[in-house]
């Protein structure tokens, strides 16, 4: 290449301006001299972006259908409760804060996590976008933590907002400071328990979804284990009771007591029983089919919860330590 030809290549604008398609106009380059975000702020920006993505914002209208539907479904019991209280002022609340409606919550969260966890992590794998992130001031641990934070917040929104609706519906029908305080106290424990749901399901969901970049496979990778362990836990609990009978007077069998550890949903249910001292509050449970038997093994539910959480978060972080870039 001669010096002249090289000079010509260096001045594309003069030549390119004549042609019509793909013209590159010279608008001058502006440097950026302003402040730059620190690492923590970048992680927060990624978290916010992913949280929006978990509900389909920033994507097409189609992406919003399921999150909105599921959220509406989740709020339904709270709405029914509010209407029931309003039309029948003498009656008490029909739904508890801690359990909410366990089987509905389990099914809705199962579908939500299975459908939306792939949106949070699998899309970046499928589109090979990860190299673009890791070529920026983002650490290997920053990315999974930002994604986890975003999805925990998304699950919290799904679980806690209906509880707040429930609270508003209840409080408007209460008279007296002590009754309102009692509602608030119950709401507090309900929110705390809901947070346990959000943290556990979000971390398990993201870990499973991050195993594959294909959306359909990711949905199956999350949904199938969650669904079948849930079924299995319930079946074994029943069989355990029928086949072995009570192990001791007043105590369910060992098999039935430990079956709940199999599924995250029954694990969470068992943990609640254990924390509450086995029996629930005086409120009527809308659905007792999902009642988990823990026997004397309540401590195991707490332990497995902690271990499972550590394993899921650790697995997610490890996954992104070695994921290939570029």
């Amino acid at each position: 290449m001669s010096a002249d030809a090289k000079a010509a290549a260096r001045q594309p604008t003069t030549a390119a301006n004549d042609s019509s398609a793909g013209v590159i106009h010279n608008i001058g380059y502006r440097r950026y001299d302003g402040a730059r975000l620190g690492r923590a702020q970048i992680v927060r920006a990624l978290m916010w972006h992913s949280l929006r993505g978990a509900f389909g914002f920033g994507r097409g209208a189609k992406a919003k259908i399921f999150p909105v539907l599921l959220f509406g479904l989740m709020c339904l019991p709270a709405a029914v409760n509010a209407v029931a209280l309003a039309t029948n002022p003498g009656g008490g609340p029909i739904i508890s804060y801690d359990g909410y409606v366990p089987s509905l919550r389990a099914i809705v969260m199962l579908v939500f996590v299975a459908l939306q966890a792939p949106n949070v992590v699998s899309t970046d794998l499928r589109n090979h976008t990860l190299p673009l992130y890791f070529a920026r001031p983002i650490g290997r641990i920053d990315y999974p933590l930002a994604k986890l934070g975003a999805f925990v917040l998304a699950c919290l929104a799904m679980i806690e907002i209906p509880l707040l609706v429930l609270y508003v519906g209840n409080v408007t029908q209460q008279h007296g400071a002590s009754a309102v305080w009692e509602q608030t106290r119950q709401l507090g424990s309900g929110l705390l328990y809901g947070a346990a749901w959000a943290v556990l399901l979000a971390s398990i969901g993201l870990l499973l979804a991050s195993l594959t970049g294909r959306r359909v496979f990711a949905i199956c990778a999350v949904g199938i284990p969650l669904f079948f362990t849930y079924i299995l836990a319930n079946v074994i609990t029943h069989i355990g009771q029928i086949a072995y009978g009570p192990a001791a007077f007043g105590q369910p069998s060992k098999v039935a007591s430990l079956a709940g550890l199999i599924s995250p949903f029954t694990l969470l249910g068992g943990m609640l029983h254990w924390l509450q001292g086995s029996e629930a509050t005086g409120l009527i449970r809308a659905n007792d089919l999902q009642r988990v038997i823990i026997g004397n093994y309540g401590w195991a539910y707490g332990l497995v919860f902690v271990l499972l959480l550590i394993a899921a978060v650790g697995g997610l972080i490890a996954r992104y330590q070695k994921v290939g870039v570029a």
């Binding site: 290449m1 590159i24 990624l46």
Partner: protein
Amino acid sequence: MITQPSTPAGASAPQHVRGAVIEARNLTKRYGPTVTALDQLNVAVGPGITGLIGANGAGKSTLIKILLGLLMPTSGQARVLGHDCASDGFAIRTLTGYMPEHDCLPPDVTATEFVTHLGRMSGLPATAARERAADSLRHVGLYEERYRQIGTYSTGMKQRVKLAQALVGDPRLLLLDEPTNGLDPAGRTAMLDLIARIGSEFGISILVASHLLGEIEQICDNLVAIDAGRLLRADSISSVTQASAALLVEVDEGTELLLAELSRRGLAPVAYQRGLLIELAGEQTYDVVRDSVADLGLPLSRMEQRRHRIEELFREDPAAPGSTVPGQTTGAANVS
């Protein structure tokens, strides 16, 4: 443009090179016990546009990943813009824009949203990210299209988005991995013009990795050639391309006669495929070949100026000034 004479293997590593944008010293990367991607690489790259040439698997992508601080070298050292790659990756990645070789764009978001988001990931505040995303997309030639979903784009437009996302964070250095991949000839020319303009007008140093020398030599100031993880040659583009020009001569019969005749007249022809390859020293080379063929009365079927393939270019030319012969590839070369 200074090229230091190569030093034999085992000599002391070169000292820190002042003003070097990229610097590698005895850089070695092994994957497992058997695969060596980079082997004692010593090179210093100055400002401007530098071509990183090598066949597939030569270690280009590995070098880029090490430069970005994404891979740890097995041994040796690399510095980018004065920062150590192993310990200061965050600083490097703030100052560097990277355009990967492969497709890396989500189909279901608009170019504006995508580049804005990646601007934020480069550390820009929200407003600045929006402004610079719009600017970057205009610089690469995307206007109204930038509000469309990327999935509807042509390959050429996608390559432009990839370049725009590398540019959005206002980098001091761009690392472009095969930027013309998958483009048609017109698209290649447009992309190369764009890169040349970013390098000259925007004042951003650029390292362009490619396996096609003929393509990027048009826009590069300097050239770094690697093969099997070793430095073949680092030099200014002019000295490389001058040395690489060759004349391919084919005669229907009497190739041996012509070879002997050309040798007698002081040229050094090499049998190549069905013809002879002669180093092109200048206009007189054509005359000598013409005269030889005419004197021998041979049927000349082809006479064509051409370039060696990359590997040949750097291997079969040990006599060229500043070049590094394969046996001495661990030597240092300094392009400034």
